[in-house]
Amino acid sequence: MEGELAHIGAGLAAIGSGAAAIGVGNVAGNFLSGALRNPSAAAGQTATLFIGIAFAEALGIFSFLVALLLMFAV
């Protein structure tokens, strides 16, 4: 029974991946809309873009990690 609950928990943790996807999409979309308004300033901000994406994605990876722990460690 406990193992089955862990599987349900792992599935619930996978929702976090979707949330991270929304976050990354937000960052990239806003970057693009800004970049299209002022293309000359866009090239200097790609580093900021990647930092933003990395921060948003890290939280999704955390939820993936929780899912992995539930699947294999609990």
Partner: protein, 252 residues
């Protein structure tokens, strides 16, 4: 072997998607001790050798008209140098060798892990936590050496209203100490997730009806992983630069 252990499960994969990350002794089947040569040892050594081959042997001749290998080496050098200079400013360039080493090691470890049947070293927290902790300790010690006690000004947001500053200080301190955690988990998690997904799709290839879809999916995921391998090395390096900038110029 773990393959047999998981193979008997009902309706599941023939092999387990996480089996590729098992650290095994390279010779024989003995227990793993401190100095056992494992597949992780082999691929870490290959990573270092590949970096040496590119950066020392490839660019050693210092030709005016560069060969292809030397061009790649110069491209990598210029890429990282520009990144360090852009993010940390002129006084951060002194620490360029460390950041270049980090970038080359991670990018080569990530790309070597993409060779079929290889072992992905950067998917192990043991590897990435050491890298991230080294960055964290370096940056913290450097911050105190360079700025003395005023390094603590990093946590005291002087642009915020006075009443908010203690609250912000607590948040800043927590976020400062979470840095090595997220720094290492981001790299290991991304690489592990990508490789596990490829293996999951590979497991579906055994079912005849969906095997073409599965092979297409593996190809697409592999393409994405090539991108991720580079981007994660880039992100790890640029975050190191950002942390270094915080240590050199702690005031907001």
């Amino acid at each position: 072997m773990a393959t047999e252990a998981h193979g008997g499960e009902e309706g599941g994969l023939v092999f387990h998607p996480m089996d590729q990350f098992i650290v095994q002794p390279l010779f024989g089947d003995g227990a793993i001790n401190m100095f056992t040569v494992t597949n992780a040892t082999l691929w870490l050594a290959l990573t270092v050798l590949a970096v040496i081959a590119l950066m020392v042997l490839g660019t050693g001749k210092r030709a005016i008209v560069p060969s292809r290998t030397q061009s790649i080496g110069e491209l990598a050098y210029g890429f990282v140098y520009k990144m360090v200079e852009d993010v940390t400013g002129k006084d951060g360039v002194k620490y360029f060798p460390y950041i270049m080493t980090l970038f080359m090691f991670i990018v080569f470890a990530n790309f070597l892990a993409l060779i079929p049947m290889s072992f992905s070293t950067t998917s192990h927290f043991a590897v990435t936590v050491v890298l991230a902790l080294a960055v964290f300790l370096t940056v913290t010690v450097l911050g105190f050496i360079k700025n003395g006690a005023s390094f603590l000004g990093l946590f005291w947001v002087s642009s915020a209203p006075l009443a908010l500053r203690p609250v912000l200080a607590i948040i800043e301190i927590i976020s400062y100490f979470v840095r090595p955690v997220s720094h290492s988990i981001r790299l290991a998690g991304n690489i592990m997730a990508g490789h596990a997904v490829i293996k999951v799709f590979a497991g579906f290839a055994a079912i005849a009806v969906i095997s073409p879809v599965s092979i297409l999916a593996i190809t697409a995921m592999y393409g994405l992983e090539v991108l991720v391998a580079f981007i994660q090395a880039y992100v790890f390096t640029i975050l190191t630069c950002v942390y270094l900038k915080d240590a050199l110029h702690p005031h907001h």
